[in-house]
């Protein structure tokens, strides 16, 4: 008798989980299915589940509409800005944690405050400044901006990781003959791997998905995928099949980055360094 309640509880438990999963996965499933349909099948109710799958939309997106170029732009912008953010962020966080300098507290609070500025607010002033510097409509303009907006978060993630690294490790490296830069690259950076991975997942995704700034700061040659996707919303209607195919293509790279990066997030990487 006593089994009844837990059974019921676990049933309702699973029901809630399934419902949540449907809410999350439903739109993705809809997107994937729609991307495999011809325009005529998309709004025809009998063929919602049963239709002849086609890759026509993907060919249209990648070959005919030359979205390969925008995919390249997105990949360059997201990966270069992620790498720059991680390198600069790790160094900045290291300096804030380890060095005592005038204005240290101000710097660390200011970084956090910057994070609270909505991205859209930056669009107009950055447009003006980038135009002055000749960065408008260039991939570098976007890369620099994404690096800047992602730095605060990265610094704060890595701050915690660096603070956990025992100071003796760096002292041991100094005694072993490392200079300050070598201490950072040979000892500190390898130990930050889990933190770097966590930060990489976020920075890559933000740079990859960002729409407003990319829309304002790029042109037809340098636009990124989210901006390109909006091209399928036209005066004469929405090209659902192509839009969904592009949606699937946009969703894949961050998924790969997340899976690869998540494997680096190993708890207790510094275990064994010092007696706890």
């Amino acid at each position: 008798m006593s089994d009844e309640r837990p059974k019921a509880a676990s049933l309702s438990h699973y029901a809630v989980l399934v419902a949540l999963a449907l809410v999350c996965l439903g739109p993705i499933l809809l997107m994937a299915m729609t991307s495999l349909k011809v325009q005529a099948d998309i709004f025809a109710s009998p063929s919602f589940w049963f239709f002849a799958p086609t890759l026509q939309n993907y060919r249209a997106v990648l070959v005919e509409d030359s979205f390969g170029r925008f995919l390249g732009n997105s990949l360059i912008v997201a990966s270069v800005s992620t790498v720059l953010t991680l390198v600069a962020g790790a160094m900045a966080a290291y300096a804030i944690v380890r060095f005592r300098f005038r204005g240290r507290a101000v710097v660390s609070w200011a970084t956090l405050l910057l994070r609270s500025v909505p991205l859209a607010v930056l669009a107009v002033p950055v447009f003006g400044i980038w135009e002055q510097f000749g960065l408008l409509n260039s991939l570098w303009g976007l890369i620099l901006l994404y690096t800047a907006v992602n730095l605060p978060f990265t610094i704060w993630v890595l701050y915690g990781f660096i603070a956990q690294i025992p100071h003796e490790l760096e002292e041991a490296a100094l005694i072993d003959g490392c200079g300050p830069l070598r201490v950072f690259f040979a000892v500190v950076l390898p130990l930050l791997r889990p933190g770097l991975a966590a930060a990489a997942i976020f920075t890559f995704r933000i740079a990859w998905n960002e729409f407003i700034l990319a829309l304002v700061l790029t042109n037809r040659a340098t636009r990124t995928l989210p901006v390109a996707a909006s091209l399928y919303i036209t005066d004469v209607g929405i090209e659902w099949g192509k839009l969904m195919a592009l949606g699937v293509l946009i969703a894949l790279p961050p998924l790969v980055v997340t899976l690869v990066a998540a494997r680096q997030i190993i708890a207790g990487l510094t275990a064994g360094a010092v007696k706890g």
Partner: protein, 338 residues
């Protein structure tokens, strides 16, 4: 191997003076142990030797070379940390060879030196493991191995055994002593453990409040402490310090005590006639006699007897002055009932 000279070293952190005008010469191949209570400046002095702290004033020479402003890596020293400080992302072998690789030594040379150190420390089977797969004692050995492979002029040890359990600590202490005999390196060793200090040191340096209280061989420090602090700090249990005055014989709280006075102390004692003095007696120097037995003796009320197997520690209060604590270490089977 190299001699070390500290010249008028002072170290302040803000207004706090941690090391105060310290000068010390350490000979080549000597094993010197810094002892003192927490916060006495012994670790800070070691860190200044290592180059991890910069002295506020003064000069440090290693092997005749002024290293005061040199970075740690260029002082030709190796240090074993209390926490071991092994690089967690490197294997034991990589940990030990790290400094050698930084020096761009030939690969064969590095292999040979790592293998030799691993053999000395019995850690050959561990070379491919990461630190997290090692026990505390093994990590300790690797940390020592990392120091040995470099064949430095000076070895620095910062309380290297304090994280080990008592049994392992004794074992590693013996190993360090053997290692020093074998390497004949100049070693500076910081500890708050008297047993380590007494057994390992050629010379002990006793620190208190940022100043050197006494420098000397373990025998000298134990037998002839330079001041009250050293007398109380060295020796376990702590030396009995009994307030008294001298007037041809000693008087403790009104009780006369006729002790033989060594000739060398007699002039000083005569000069201090009638003044308040402190009489120091090691607990091991006391023994129990019957109350009616003749000879010099103190009447003591016993509070506690602690049986330790090989000996019994007896704590009590002086009969004539109950506020004065007295401790005696007696053979385990010494009868107290008399």
């Amino acid at each position: 191997m190299a001699a070390i000279t500290l010249e008028a070293i002072t170290k302040s952190f803000g207004a706090l003076k941690v090391v105060d005008d310290m000068s010390l010469d350490i000979s080549e191949g000597e094993f010197v142990v810094f002892v003192g209570p927490s916060g006495c400046g012994k670790s800070t002095t070691l860190r200044m030797l290592a180059g991890l702290e910069q002295p506020t004033t003064g000069r440090i020479c290693i092997g005749g070379r002024d290293v005061t402003s040199l970075p740690p890596g260029r002082r030709d020293i190796a240090m074993v940390f209390q926490s071991y400080a092994l690089y967690p992302h490197m294997t034991v072998k990589e940990n030990m060879s790290f400094a050698l690789r930084l020096q761009n030594l030939p690969k064969g040379d590095i292999e040979r030196r790592v293998a030799e150190a691993a053999r000395i420390l019995h850690i050959e089977p561990l070379l491919d493991r990461k630190p997290k797969a090692l026990s505390g004692g093994q990590r300790q050995r690797v940390a020592m191995g990392r120091a040995i492979v470099r064949a430095p002029s000076v070895f620095l040890f910062d309380e290297p055994l304090s994280n080990l359990d008592a049994q392992l600590r004794n074992h590693m202490r013996v190993e360090i002593a053997l290692l020093q005999k074998r390497l004949r390196g100049t070693m500076v060793y910081v500890t708050h453990d008297q047993v380590e200090a007494m057994t390992l040191a050629d010379r002990i340096v006793v620190f208190h409040k940022g100043r050197i209280q006494q420098v000397g061989s373990p025998e000298l420090i134990f037998e002839h402490p330079a001041n009250l602090f050293v007398a109380k700090f060295i020796g376990s249990p702590t030396m009995n310090i009994l307030p008294c005055h001298y007037d041809g014989q000693f008087y403790l709280g009104g009780q006369a005590l006729d002790l033989p006075v060594p000739d060398r102390l007699r002039p000083a004692l005569e000069a201090a006639r009638g003044r308040d003095l402190l009489l120091g007696i090691r607990p091991q120097a006391l023994r129990v006699v019957r109350a009616d037995e003749h000879g010099p003796g103190l009447r003591v009320t016993v509070d506690l007897c602690e049986y330790l197997g090989t000996e019994t520690v007896v704590s009590g209060r002086l009969g004539a002055a109950p506020q004065v604590q007295v401790t005696a270490v007696l053979p385990a089977r010494a009868g107290l009932g008399g």
